[in-house]
Amino acid sequence: MSAATKSAPKPAPKSASKKTATPAPAPKPTAAANGIHPGSLLSITQLSLDEVSSILALADKLANEPLSKHAELLDNRKIALLFYESSTRTRTSFELAAKSLGAMTTLVSDKSSSIEKGESLKDTGLTLRALGAECIILRHNASGSPYLLAQQTGLPVLNAGDGMHEHPSQALLDLRTILSRLGKKQAVDEKTLDGVTICITGDILHSRVARSNALLLPRLGAKVILCGPSQLLPPEAVQLSTGITLERDFDAALKQSQVVMMLRIQKERLAGLQIDLADYQRQFQLNDERYAAYAPNALVMHPGPMIRGLEITADIADGPQSAIEEQVSNGLAIRMALLARALTGGAA
């Protein structure tokens, strides 16, 4: 975990403008973090840029070589997918990644009733370990749950989305997508994304994808604009990292951006909030008209699942500037690399 300190975002300059307050101090490895397997990926902040580069390089290698070359890399290794929340996309992506490296997978989900009623996360983890699981991929509705699982089992744990916290593999696959579409090298450093502005729009408050991306991209030199209504984007979001600004006006944000990342509006989470969907659509939907007027060449991304017609229109989602499908295929490559890293230390 020493990488966490090394790769911590630098503190904001003293002369920070109004919109860039000093970020909260970066996470320090705590005593509680001891015993976490180095192959784990719990938060994107734990990776140094060198580690990011090597994960990207490994993903590249695995994606470009014929399946037969690496089909036995994780021969008979046992990987458990522990999914307390359903997610077709992430689950399938991890599962296919594991299988294409030759690993055995087992899915334990709330739907499959394998998660015993009332059994603690710790005990479920220990049970999986006792059954031979060598790595656990966890999706859970509680922020931080992968930390608990990693501490208690000592196994490599891959965070496949925890509560409102993070989705680090998504940030890596998004990065791979951005780099390839912008024609950048896969070996990244603090300057790789200099001059690139990325706008993330939508329900930032509840989005682990937004957090992981906002914590990663500025470290490569990108400027990140977070955009959304105040109910979904509270002011403290600006302190996630340096290089972040908040913008309530989507058009103004688009005008500056080379990449626009749209987030799903999670209708189920709007219950307590005062959000008028029609008004939201008017202000924040990425549609043809807005795209043509303000960012006619921007790369369009969406972590999915999308609601066509709500946060994004079909013609934009399916248009030539959309990288949405590519994000999905990059997901497979990144997750193969993360599994190889978890189980072999990256010796692929």
């Binding site: 705590t30 509680a142 931080g144 930390y147």
Partner: protein, 438 residues
């Protein structure tokens, strides 16, 4: 008749401002006499007194913690009155006030008396705080008169604060009539639903719902307003509001103003709130999950300032034991609270005496005299002749390493485990009985 002579120590007694070498004579459960070094030896010898050599040690009134959770009745797996008081004795305490959030809630004289019965095997004195409302549900105030007669020394719904203005108004009046404080855990629980740490940038990054500063200060301001109304307009006895574990600069400032206005408002600060900030939550460390939550550095510093300038009246731990498996859960699911009676003295010495040069006389005031006074515990918090022979002997200069597994407490949920701290308790005497000796 049993007599003890404690000789050769450096005696600190805040009420008499004694801060010099003095010997101390105890007979049975009372303090008999203080004297210059050597002066009491002849009398002690005549009585066949047991002699305790306190050379190099501070001799002070036993510490008083007015905010602990002893978990009995109902949750003996976390703590019992026996185990909690044993751990407290190890920490130098001779009196504890225990909160009513037991199972059942201490809202009746029967539960209060049960807690006080000798079968509980308390090692030191326990003074129950009874529930302010029935079942701590916040609707109907309990019978303060009969609860006080049974042994209750104050009223509080602790973790379930009294939110309704009218009920709080009634509670302040009833407590004033009973001559005891109305004690409030200041939190507007209507706006902290689902919150598990301090609100702000860190909570946002960790994806945890945060408790705002205003959730605390809003209730403190409301309570002060009620006290003011009753004090200036009321005909009845003067109400006494005691605010538990203040954690925010804003609430502390409201208390400062209330004191300036001459209102009877007191408050306590917990060691974790002057030692730690919400940085300790990183890694989803459930040993840093408590309520009120660990706050910002600015708030932490404000707690120290308040202890130094007298706005904060005393130190209390909010000792909140939980079983290991309860804390080994998802952060938002894990229960709030940490244990505290073992480390309170050492942490206070470290932060206030060492880092901020607070004299030990003042520290003993905050940890013994003042809390005893707030809760009306007569004959405690002092070494004056005829006071209870509650005495702590400690070495402020040497250090020890806290090993939570070795604590007599049944729980070990503390962020201070393994830390080397200054201030070693050598002996605790409760009403003339040696209850702890290292």
């Amino acid at each position: 008749m049993k007599t003890i002579l404690i000789k050769g120590g450096h005696l600190i007694d805040p009420p008499s401002r004694t801060d010099r070498p003095r010997d101390l004579l105890i007979r049975d459960n009372r303090i008999v006499e203080l004297g210059d070094p050597g002066k009491l030896s002849a009398a002690a010898k005549k009585e066949g007194a047991e002699v305790i050599d306190a050379s190099g040690l501070i001799v002070a009134p036993g510490l008083v913690d007015i905010h602990v959770h002893l978990r009995e009745p109902g949750q003996g797996h976390k703590e019992t009155i026996e185990s909690g008081t044993k751990a407290a004795a190890m920490g130098g305490f001779t009196a504890l006030c225990c909160m009513p959030n037991t199972s059942p809630v201490n809202d009746s004289p029967e539960v209060t008396r049960w807690m006080l019965s000798p079968e509980r095997k308390a090692h030191i004195r326990v003074f129950p705080v009874a529930a302010a409302t029935r079942g701590s549900m916040g609707d109907t105030i309990t019978e303060y008169g009969s609860l006080k007669a049974a042994g209750a020394v104050g009223f509080s719904d602790d973790g379930k604060p009294v939110l309704q203005d009218a009920v709080m108004h009634q509670a302040l009046i009833a407590a004033a009539r009973a001559g005891v404080p109305m004690i409030q855990h200041a939190e507007n629980t209507k706006i902290t639903v689902g919150a598990s740490m301090n609100a702000g940038a860190r909570a946002f990054r960790l994806g945890l719902r945060g408790m705002s500063i205003e959730a605390e200060s809003g209730i403190v301001e409301r309570d002060i307003r009620l006290v003011r109304e009753l004090t200036t307009g009321g005909k009845g006895p003067r109400p006494h509001l005691h605010v538990q574990h203040v954690s925010t600069a804003k609430a502390m400032e409201a208390i400062r103003q209330a004191k300036r206005a001459g209102l009877h408002v007191t408050c306590e600060v917990a060691p974790h709130h002057f030692m730690l900030t919400d940085e300790a939550v990183e890694g989803y460390n459930t040993h840093a999950k408590m309520n009120p939550p660990l706050r910002s550095e600015e708030d932490r510093a404000a707690m120290v300032t308040a202890l130094l300038d007298g706005t904060a009246d005393c130190i209390a731990t909010d000792h909140a034991p939980h079983a290991v498996h309860e804390k080994e859960q998802e952060f938002e699911k894990a229960p709030n609270g940490i244990t505290g009676i073992e480390t309170s003295l050492s942490l206070s010495i470290k932060m206030l005496h060492h880092q901020h040069r607070m004299p030990l006389l003042r520290l003993m005031h905050l940890m013994s005299t003042a809390p005893a006074h707030i809760m009306g515990l007569r004959g405690r918090g002092t070494l004056a002749p005829e006071a209870f022979a509650d005495v702590v002997l400690f070495d402020p200069k040497s250090t020890w390493t806290f090993d939570a597994r070795k604590s007599p407490s049944k729980s070990r949920n503390t962020p201070f485990d393994g830390q080397t701290l200054p201030g070693v308790v050598k002996m605790t005497i409760s009403e003339g009985r040696v209850v702890y000796k290292s």
